[in-house]
Symmetry: D2
């Protein structure tokens, strides 16, 4: 049943891959290449990525977002450190403790209204420095766009980064949906990451139309000095890496990433707008990227899910999450709204 | 230079992917699927895999061989355990300590002539049981085909497994080249794994023509009870898993895996035969799968590598390794032999 | 300066050791004993401990409270699990991340008024079961007496334990000040631990007048099955264990532990009573064991600390902590009150 | 039975503690001290230790030898590193995998004749540098005196250290029996450690007559920069540290350590000399410290052990180990020889 190819709003990783990405895989399938990344495709992908960020960054491909996040954090911490993050952050609630297991560090979460950290809420955990009984705060990790569908402004990021660096902490950004954030506030990748003070970025394009295109970008090369060993030991080194590399190249060429992100965000806005007219539904977060959070009558949820995949976000509040993706169709939205209204009658 | 698309005998993972695998990726690219493996493609792949092994096994896809090996060993050990393996085994020398880092266990290696463990050499480490100061031997890990290009017979596996089980140890098999082994001794996957007493198998088809098709097969479901959590925490859970799944389906359909393995093995035999005629070269291992180990005059190695990728195996002995793959051409071999003979003059 | 032998109220581990404990060390210093606990002194200590709990428990000595807590939690968790605890708990804020490092698990903390967990606050974290992306709640850890100087009643413990077991979770108790709790509510060790539903106890007598007397008591022997290996691997196995063992024997004989705890608690009450009369000081927690928390004028703190050691608890609130111990003298309290009043003038 | 206070030659940690050490504990039992090492006793102990080594070292007390070894290695390694050691070394065979668990690193052992590493045998593992698939050799760990009762000369240590440093590796020394080594070759602690090129030393006096006196000495302060956090997280930070500290002071005053070590070594020589006259017994290692290894007729072992504790070393060879200690009496030896001869008749 649930294993049918039913369209929906469950997650942007329920979508397939963009045809140009598929085509790129074909292109990469020629001749022999040194495995593990020492090939021209990977070289080209890294060059392309640097164009979007900065020539002076270090780039490494990984298998998935969890891998990017965990290995990023590993490079920033000793096991006696702690990592400050939003309570709703992916690293805190959706990675089955992978950060703790691999880094040995402690996660210190703070509740937020909208998934966004602020200096004020970070301060709550900024104590115990140099006291050996206390896990030493070392990293602030933020997600852009957040897990709540909101987007940090450049200024907000800069404030956090400046506060962090002043206190000798690092800033990590989980950029699983960086593309959606960038188009949302019309800024380049560079402007909302390295330039704004981010030290290490988990850069993901999988949710943007790739099959598996994930990378870590180090804006400070001192941090990445030993990274290649940790990537291997962290089980994140692909043998036939060229097939991951060409996905980056495809998405970062001809602004495919941008078209995909703009489309997904636009679909979210449209869906949100249509839903906003329905009195029984209450949208709970600003719709700034490709996610919509809404409180809807509990009774209609099962029937709605029966036709369109999506997830319950907060059972108690009857809050659900709808995600749009690069391949969301207007007709998907229309059909969904029709059913929604029908069920609400 | 080294990043050109030069063909060679460096490794079977320097090859690209089989066209039927590429086509399968296309097939999978339709509609929306629940991510993380809860989709029909993964269901079908697992069904197909079970046909080759046994209905009663547990199958989980992973990203790569390191992931399969490390997570397999994790399921078999407490951190105070030890794992007995050949000194040349991939888990011992080619995974940058990933098994130690993730499991906390100790690897106990034994030197072998041909990469194959025997009960006799295992016995060396079978002591200290119940003595809390001593890492407790718990797993025997063997590789099929071995890293030395040799293949265990069913009987050899059974002997090890029977010895292991008698002493309450588990047997893990690293099957990164299981296909090459199976065709080499004309046995089914099942006959050389579960039926022969293996408890957990790292089953890899990446080197057999896939892009990334790796799985863990548990022949004892008690072992895999908690596995899904460890796969996630071990950063080995793919979001768009369907694209990994269809590669299994493609390779396990129409005996594609078999054709690929037979071809690779046959190419190795041909290369070995041609080389055997050259008096200055000494083949050091039986050529039972798709690898050839040979001592060749040190002076010609750089020039030979200049035209054909391959790796030095043992600098001191001037021993090199040549791997063939599903896409090795007769002309590759002929050109290589011509150059080899020319350089030896 | 701070390294003088100044008396004070900093912590019960700033006190020395009871003379009878010192004498016991002498008694143990005869002849040769098998090291690592296989000796008559350890046997006798374990027998004595069992008398206070139950014949059917498993007892292991460790070096310190951190070791007891971490190894207890290790026995109760897989690395993908989470541990629910009070935000102020020692395992959460005073062990430099030792639980996360050794177990790989996640700590889920909840704010409390008085350091005591309740079923209601535990429930906040009771979700995500069987969902592989989410760390699986597995242990509830409570501290008796709490870090805030309060004490759980038997009923309160039973409620938590019953809720935990109903949901297949374990309950761990950090009993670094179990003696103070026991005398506070006039219950036996057994009544407030195993009988009330605790699964594993960190049992500490160091703060009760020992030099280093710490143990783990398993009320469920299935949990401790592999413990001896983890104790060794966790660096908590003492060679000349007899000298730790005899401290238990000394304190658990002639009710020395009880006299010590009663004295410490009584001193706390006296100090609290005297302080209660001072209008500028506000006691913030119930004084149920041997700790007093009070808000005092910030300006007098440095001068007070100059004569008597004690710690700031919450800088922002100007809240301090005073601990009494088995060797606190009435004169210590009198002198302290005199100075306090003088400074407040 | 085995739990009687029977004297013997099982291990130097089966002995009790020297009366002067016991007396020192009493001295430390006065007034209140800041816990966790911030006290005058610890300050004095560290000062005293530095006198034996060098003013410019960093000293930290730990609970036991395993703790010292594991935390030393942690400070010298990333988890992707490897540690080269003798096959018989304590860190390799007697710590239940504690180094692997806590550091994540790989141990690379080499067989030796006499427990002593040489540059030649180290070289076997010196390869794979900068190759990310291979655990990177980073530390050479030697034991002084060795687990085989032999002692490195200053020159031998210097050779290893000089080779290590030339290749950018560190040298760790397990000095659980450093005193026995120092008196054996009539060198100071400093001459056989820091001055000879050791980077980090596990310095143990427990086997020399202490109850528990273990420390780590860093000869390179860059290495210990973050140590205090790792000691706490590694569960090796004692609360009432003063009682550990004074044991160092006692043993390092009036050359008590030296008298104890000289006595133990002398007793070993006497035992060895007496045994050497017995034709059925074959001493297998040089007796340079306080251990004797001998092959004796298997048939008499149980009866001998019945009267005197000692351990079988190698069952297959019928090789046993006899250790002497600071409290071994001539009469112990005489009685043992009498019984030995009687049984051999």
């Amino acid at each position: 049943m649930k294993k049918t190819l039913k369209r929906g709003f469950a997650s942007d990783n329920n979508a397939g891959i963009h045809p140009e990405v598929l085509k790129a895989l074909q292109t990469a399938n020629q001749g022999h290449c040194i495995a593990y990344g020492d090939d021209i495709f990977t070289e080209r992908a890294i060059k392309k990525i640097k164009e979007y960020f900065n020539e002076d960054v270090d780039v490494y491909l990984t298998f998935n977002g969890t891998g990017s996040n965990v290995l990023s954090l590993k490079m920033l911490t000793d096991s006696f450190n702690s990592i400050i993050c939003a309570e709703t952050s992916h690293i805190n609630v959706d990675e089955c403790g992978a950060p703790e297991k691999f880094t040995g560090s402690k996660l210190l979460s703070v509740p937020t209204e909208d998934g966004k950290l602020t200096v004020d809420c970070i301060k709550y955990h900024m104590h115990g420095f140099d006291f050996e009984h206390h896990s030493q705060p070392q990293v602030i990790s933020i997600t852009q766009a957040t897990e709540m569908g909101t987007v940090y402004t450049v200024k907000e990021i800069e404030k956090i980064a400046s506060y962090a660096h002043k206190h000798k902490l690092y800033v990590h950004m989980d950029g699983a949906r960086l593309s959606n954030a960038a188009v949302s506030i019309d800024k380049s990748f560079w402007e909302i990451t390295g330039q704004a003070g981010i030290d290490v970025l988990s850069f993901g394009l999988t949710k943007n139309g790739a099959m598996n295109a994930e990378a870590i970008i180090f804006f400070n090369k001192e941090i990445s000095r030993k990274f290649k060993f940790y990537r291997k030991q962290g089980m994140q080194l692909a043998s036939k890496m060229r097939f991951m590399a060409v996905q980056f190249e495809a998405l970062l060429s001809n602004e495919l990433w941008k078209r995909n992100a703009e489309h997904a965000n636009k679909m979210a806005k449209i869906l949100a707008d249509k839903v906003a007219d329905i009195p029984q539904i209450n949208i709970t977060q600003k719709v700034e990227a490709n996610g919509i959070f809404a409180i809807i009558p509990a009774v209609i949820i099962p029937k709605l899910q029966d036709q369109f995949f999506f997830y319950m976000w907060d059972q108690k509040k009857s809050e659900v999450r709808w995600m749009t993706s690069f391949d969301t169709q207007l007709s998907d939205i229309d059909d969904f709204i029709v059913l929604l209204k029908k069920l609400l009658k």
